[in-house]
């Protein structure tokens, strides 16, 4: 338990650092970020007078309180779940994010789970069947690993998307058919949501699976050289038991590296949502950036950070569960 609490401490600290950085940055950057931001935005016609006031307030200009007081009230509000007010949507940031979150979390959880399970399984098989035709997965996976998520999204839209030009198999815009169905517990809506999730999910899976494949394959190859795997073979255990012995051990470092993996998947998914106009927090982050809705940007950033930290904590718990050594230390 102690090790887990320690990790939890790191995550709380990380959340605090992230929040503080996003609060402090606009206030310490040299020059006048408000003027620059407003100038940029008014060029594109996105910023009205209401926007200027909101931006100034958000960035701490023309307010008569000290930075410290602003900070204390900001943190205090956060602690109460108050993430501020979005001028562009004219709604509390918290409730806005809550309405975006199911889209993002649904996509993230499903895609990451499929990708992790499939990638790990393929990695295990690749290591097991070293030297067979399966080895060809390696260069293919390397190439896929190198594809930026949003570029893959563009390619998939072009080939399979209804907004593309080739096959037009799957919807590739929005989270559901906003013209034909009404959100709610009705079958057409559910069907629409599911069919709209196919391409974004496939994009995230395809883009992230290669990383899991390569990581697991390399770990597996290294683990299979360990004595206990040789001994398992010497014991005449069935092949699948031997694979299980090796795989369970190879999985440990992969899980402890989940931090990196999940950060990259989340980052990739933000861009994928933008390409698909998928109504999750990634797309709205992009939207808010364009509208200079800093409250919303900051709120979304904090929430994304919390999601990633939660995923890390989950990985830590799983690690402790499957490694008796960590269990003892924990």
């Amino acid at each position: 338990m102690r090790a887990l609490l320690r990790r939890l401490g790191v995550y709380v600290l990380a959340a605090w650092v992230a929040i503080t950085v996003s609060f402090l940055l606009p206030r310490v950057v040299p020059g006048n970020p408000v003027a620059g931001a407003v100038a940029r935005a008014s060029q594109s016609g996105n910023c009205n007078s209401q926007c200027v006031i909101a931006v100034e307030e958000q960035l701490g200009y023309n307010t008569h309180t000290s930075v410290w007081e602003q900070y204390v009230s900001y943190i205090g509000n956060l602690a109460h779940g108050d993430l501020g007010h979005s001028w562009s949507e004219n709604a509390p940031v918290g409730s806005l994010i809550l309405s975006y979150l199911p889209w993002t979390l649904g996509l993230l959880v499903i895609a990451t789970t499929v990708s992790f399970v499939a990638g790990t399984a393929i990695g295990v098989l690749m290591a097991w069947r070293r030297g067979s035709w399966f080895e060809f997965v390696l260069p293919v996976a390397t190439f896929f690993q190198a594809l930026p998520y949003f570029f893959l999204a563009l390619v998939l839209v072009l080939i399979f998307g209804q907004t593309g030009t080739l096959l037009k198999w799957f919807p590739s815009l929005f989270g559901y058919d906003i013209y034909a169905v009404t959100p709610g517990a009705n079958l057409p809506y559910v069907q629409s949501v599911l069919s709209h999730a196919i391409l974004p999910a496939v994009t995230v899976i395809l883009a992230s699976v290669a990383g899991f494949i390569l990581a697991m394959r390399n770990q597996m190859v290294t683990t299979m050289d360990e004595d206990f795997v040789v001994v398992a073979e010497a014991k005449g255990l069935r092949a699948r038991t031997v694979i299980w012995y090796a795989a369970r051990n190879a999985l440990l470092p992969v899980i402890s590296n989940f931090t990196i993996a999940i950060s990259l998947v989340v980052a990739g998914q933000i861009l994928v949502e933008i390409v698909f106009n998928y109504p999750g927090i990634g797309f709205h982050l992009f939207d808010a950036l364009g509208k200079l809705d800093y409250s919303l940007v900051q709120g979304i950033f904090v929430v994304i950070t919390l999601i990633v930290l939660a995923a890390n904590l989950l990985a830590d718990v799983v690690y402790v569960m499957i490694d008796p050594r960590a269990r003892q230390a924990a």
Binding site: V17, G131, L147, T222, K235, F301
Partner: protein, 746 residues
């Protein structure tokens, strides 16, 4: 783009440690694999384009080409019937001879944009990676080297940065720094700030493991300053890891730059102050101007493919470095081509050492040897005839075991001695086909004459080299079990001891009930002096000696006829060593299994073995009854080995050791492999390989020219055989569990 190299993985408590990097390995000598070459070529092409791109680009990237700006399309929602005035926009041109990669919707040349973009993208990637690598060295190495409070603080900082998702932080940073778009230096710095933490963690772990190495200790003792130790002693050894993380970070930085440019935070080349052309900006413009909907793939596909290709190049190079750091990744499996070249029939399978096809011919040849069994004594249980094992295939093959004959008799202990690298373990593990690729059995025969003790398991003579996987699995452990040197790693660390017993019993004794299996496991632990409660324990909860005992208990559980003991006590302290040895002898006497006991310690062998065989450079060099070999060696090498270790009992004598070092199997000396280290080497020894042959009528064999022809045998090698040997050879009836010459313990 997820996790990079595995070897950079430093799990806090688990996971394999990277292979030790020797102090001399200062330069990353990349394996010359197709992967690395492909990676280098890709990087070189991009590097050249980044430098000369500006000059070879046919147009300016911003320049519109009105000449070709002729096609126009109606903007949807405008024109007749919509109430809006008709609005047209130009249609980009697909690739043509004038524009190799077509044009953008602004009639700009895509190729020129790609060429111009390469420079900024690559520059930002490399600069950010350089800054991030410096940061990670600063944080990681200091944390690892100084330890204590410094480590706590620095590790906490890097863990915090690692936990914060990079790209969102990057977006916020880039967005709040309004000038970021126009300064690629600023962009690179911002990216570096979000990218250094992972490498820092890896470097810290590696520094920790290097910190206590001999050469660092030596430098510390000799009074070198801390900074000097870090720079001169540690950093050169971290080069492979630094290089790997540099490549990884470059990859990450390029993605990050492309991503923030795609979000419009990288500064537009047409705004003021102008940003630089980069691949992300090209993708953004394409995406924002409906290039997907329009099907204008030539606009956005090239920059995307460039990112992917450059990423692949970096990843391939990283593979090369990974394989340098962790050679296990390099020893590729037996590819079909290599297998064909080596003439291997059976498909390479893990746990089934492949056997070269032409070994079949050898069978008939060695058949003669079996019928004319020279030695007397109990019937043989494991016969190894003319066994040859190579590592690698074709011309690169290293001959690790050459033409070895060994006969293990029922209930006897056969010792196999030699320095490390002499092929002892290879020989023993090849006999039960446990060796991994790239090991290949190229010749010989291994016969196992099985008479299962409990009546279960296969019986009759089994040709181990011809056996299929199922037969091998049935024989393994049930009839031939193995105890490896390092029990530390022989037990699965994440499964309890009891579960490991259970897995093994379930396979070989399927009729036993769960409780019966549990009882049996407990009884076996008790047999080796461990409390049966320990079945619930995990390997890390047991001491080294207990782990080895548990392994021995497991190895005995199925009453095997043969036990292969590969340096079972070497990793233990002397007291535990003795206890376990005595236990083994007692168990051997009680259970009557035959044992092949491998060690480099002859004085230990002579106490438990009936017969000893000595190996050198992959060949058997001397074989004799234990006492005879120990007290009156005939081989100069054996003489040297005996004088390496003080005897456990008896008179004190001078320890000479053997001059020189074990031979490199890839470059064996001509003639007898031992001749450069031999005090009595003859001329003949430098030219002809001696073969094992009986020594004038006695029960012993030696491969040495000193004992052939009319060479004068040195006095050291001509001591009379101890009398006891002759007695034992004739008196011991077959099947009798003869006590070893020197009784030990009990």
């Amino acid at each position: 783009m997820t996790i990079d190299s595995t070897t950079l993985t430093q799990a806090p408590v688990a996971g394999p440690t990277p292979e030790p990097i020797l102090r001399t390995a200062r330069i990353v000598r990349l394996p010359r694999s197709p992967k690395v070459i492909a990676g280098l070529v890709i990087l070189a092409v991009f590097g050249v384009v980044a430098i000369i791109g500006r000059w070879i680009s046919p147009y300016s990237p911003n320049q519109t080409d009105p000449q070709n700006w002729v096609q126009h399309v109606l903007v949807p929602g405008t024109g007749p019937g919509t109430g809006f005035p008709a609005n047209y926009y130009p249609l980009p041109f697909p690739p043509s001879s004038a524009h190799w990669l077509g044009t953008t919707v602004f009639a700009q040349d895509v190729l020129s944009q790609v060429l111009a973009s390469t420079q900024a993208t690559l520059f930002v990637g490399l600069l950010a990676a350089a800054i991030a690598t410096c940061l990670s060295i600063l944080f990681g190495v200091s944390a690892g080297y100084f330890g204590g409070g410094t480590d706590e603080v620095l590790s906490l900082v890097s863990n915090v940065f690692l936990a914060i998702p990079g790209l969102p932080l990057l977006i916020v940073l880039a967005d709040y720094v309004p000038t970021a778009g126009s300064s690629i230096f600023l962009v690179a710095i911002i990216i570096a700030v979000t990218a250094w933490a992972y490498s820092s963690r890896v470097l810290r772990a590696q520094t920790l493991s290097l910190r206590n190495r001999d050469f660092v200790e030596a430098a510390r003792v000799s009074g070198e300053g801390r900074i000097r130790i870090i720079v001169v002693e540690l950093l050169p050894n971290l080069i492979p890891i630094v290089a790997a993380s540099f490549l990884f970070t470059t990859l990450y930085a390029i993605y990050a730059y492309v991503a923030i440019a795609f979000l419009g935070l990288g500064g537009s080349p047409t705004s003021s102050p102008p940003g630089l052309w980069n691949w992300g900006e090209m993708l953004r413009e394409g995406f924002a101007n409906n290039a997907i909907r329009g099907g204008w793939w030539w606009w956005w596909a090239p920059p995307g493919l460039c990112v992917a290709l450059l990423g692949t190049g970096l990843a391939l190079l990283n593979f090369g470095i990974d394989e340098f750091i962790n050679p296990r990744l390099r020893a590729a499996g037996l590819t079909r081509r290599a297998a064909k070249k080596a003439g291997i029939v059976s498909r390479a399978k893990l746990g089934m050492t492949p056997v070269a096809a032409h070994h079949a011919q050898a069978v008939s040849r060695s058949q003669a040897g079996i019928t004319a069994s020279r030695e007397v004594g109990p019937e043989p249980v494991l016969e190894i005839r003319g066994l040859c094992v190579d590592y690698g295939y074709g011309e690169e093959a290293v001959h690790a075991v050459v033409d070895c004959d060994l006969v293990l008799r029922r209930g006897r202990v056969l010792g196999l001695a030699g320095e490390s690298g002499s092929g002892k373990t290879t020989l023993a593990l090849a006999a039960i086909r446990l060796l991994r690729s790239p090991a290949v059995i190229t010749d010989g025969q291994v016969l196992f004459h099985s008479k299962p003790v409990g009546g279960e398991g296969p019986s009759g003579t089994i040709d181990m080299l011809a056996a299929d996987a199922d037969t091998l699995r049935a024989v393994r452990w049930s009839e031939i079990s193995v105890v490896l040197q390092s029990s530390m790693n022989a037990l699965n660390p994440v499964i309890s001891i009891g579960a490991q017993f259970d897995d093994m019993l379930r396979v070989h004794r399927p009729h036993l009930s769960r409780t019966a299996r549990h009882e049996m496991s407990g009884a076996m632990l008790e047999l080796v002096g461990i409390n049966p409660d320990r079945l619930r324990s995990y390997a890390h909860e047991l001491s080294g000696g207990m782990r080895q005992r548990a392994m021995i208990a497991m190895a005995l559980a199925l009453e095997p006829q043969v036990m292969i003991l590969d340096e079972p006590t070497t990793a233990l302290d002397v007291v535990t060593q003795r206890e376990i040895l005595e236990e083994l002898i007692g168990l051997r006497d009680r259970l009557g299994f035959a044992a092949l006991f491998i060690t480099h310690d002859l004085s230990l062998l002579v106490e438990i073995a009936d017969e000893i065989a000595v190996m050198y450079a992959g060949r058997l060099m001397e074989r004799a009854p234990a006492a005879a070999l120990f007290n009156a060696p005939r081989l100069p090498y054996t003489h040297g080995l005996i004088h390496c270790f003080p005897p456990m009992h008896g008179q004190r004598s001078r320890m000479d050791g053997i001059p020189g070092s074990p031979p490199d199997l890839r470059a064996l000396p001509k003639g007898c492999a031992f001749n450069p280290r031999c005090a009595w080497a003859l001329d003949q020894c430098r030219h002809d390989v001696p073969h094992l042959a009986p020594l004038n009528g006695s029960a012993r064999e030696v491969a040495c020219w000193l004992h052939r022809g009319d060479a004068k045998v040195p006095a050291e090698l001509a001591r009379p055989d101890p009398v006891i040997v002759a007695e034992r050879g004739s008196v011991a009836p077959p099947g009798n569990l003869a006590r070893p010459p020197h009784e030990v313990g009990r």
